[in-house]
Amino acid sequence: MDWMAWTAPTAIFFIVIASLLTVFSIIAIRFPESPRIGVLRIETTRGDRLFITLLGSAFINLAWLGLVSLPQWGALIVCLLYATAVFRWV
């Protein structure tokens, strides 16, 4: 595993992503849902909304890093707000 050059922060990052996927898979099996149409006018399931949240969060973090000269954890707060908005309205 040395060649993969693991670090604690990246390991935590992947564990969080894997846990999210696992939790959402379990929820999808236990509580099946039908897709809904939100503000984007497209059908989304919980999994779709998770994908939109994760992808959007990556861009929010990059934009924060490139445009804002404040600590990076500020981007995480924006991401949480974004995630709430996505799961509520998308």
Binding site: A5, W6, F14, L55, F59, Q72
Partner: protein
Amino acid sequence: MEKTVNQKAWLLVLPVLVLVAFSAVIPLMTVVNYSVQDTFGNNKFFWAGLEWFDEMLHSERMWNALGRQLLFSAIILAIEVPLGILVALSMPKRGFWASVCLVLMALPLLIPWNVVGTIWQIFGRVDIGLLGYTLENLGIPYNYTQHLFAAWATVIVMDVWHWTSLVALLAYAGLQSIPDAYYQAAKIDQASRWSVFRYIELPKMQGVLMIAILLRFMDSFMIYTEPFVVTGGGPGNSTTFLSIDLVKMALGQFDLGPAAAFSIMYFLVILLICWVFYTVMTNLEKRDGVS
């Protein structure tokens, strides 16, 4: 009758999961690990945090490569899609010549990228290439190793030559699926050729055209071999697209950290565009299914 629960199907999916893990997930994880560290080789890494991302986001070199890449993709889509449709509309619908056209159309797709690059590299040369020699003798200044416009024109024409037939074949498949009844109805209504195209053929080709645009966009956005063989990214950096720049950074300069950060941003852009295309395609299909 009670439904039998059988989870053995998961075992059938296992080989694919293992393959994807080894070919995509593990390399991607490694790239993420590299992007937050610095290395001077010998498997020794030093924590760099978000430094490489910061450097890449403020790198004029990366933004310029991205600009060139988007321009290239936009130009080839603007040429290949209408041209592909035009070719498909001109092809015979059935009979011997339809088969001949299909085979001819498929030929460029069978040629490997580096061979296409070599063909055009020689074809465009002023001393021995038919195209370069002819243009030079006609008094048209053409030298893709020195002139920006000539280099771009060569790379674009090469891509059009290589890939328009893919769009044409997909559009042709879309056209073939239209039942004759539609054309008969149009004839009864005395519809013009343009109306037949606008209201029958184009809507029926929508699905395959979306696939063609997606495939061509993704492929052109990741283009590497052909321009690398023809121009090597030059003259200067004028045809250095994202992949060429990335390879220069990762293998030429051995800057693995910045190259990994660059790769992740590149990957995110591709993922976003794929998602947009996929969403548009599935929504179109659903809309068509309902109507």
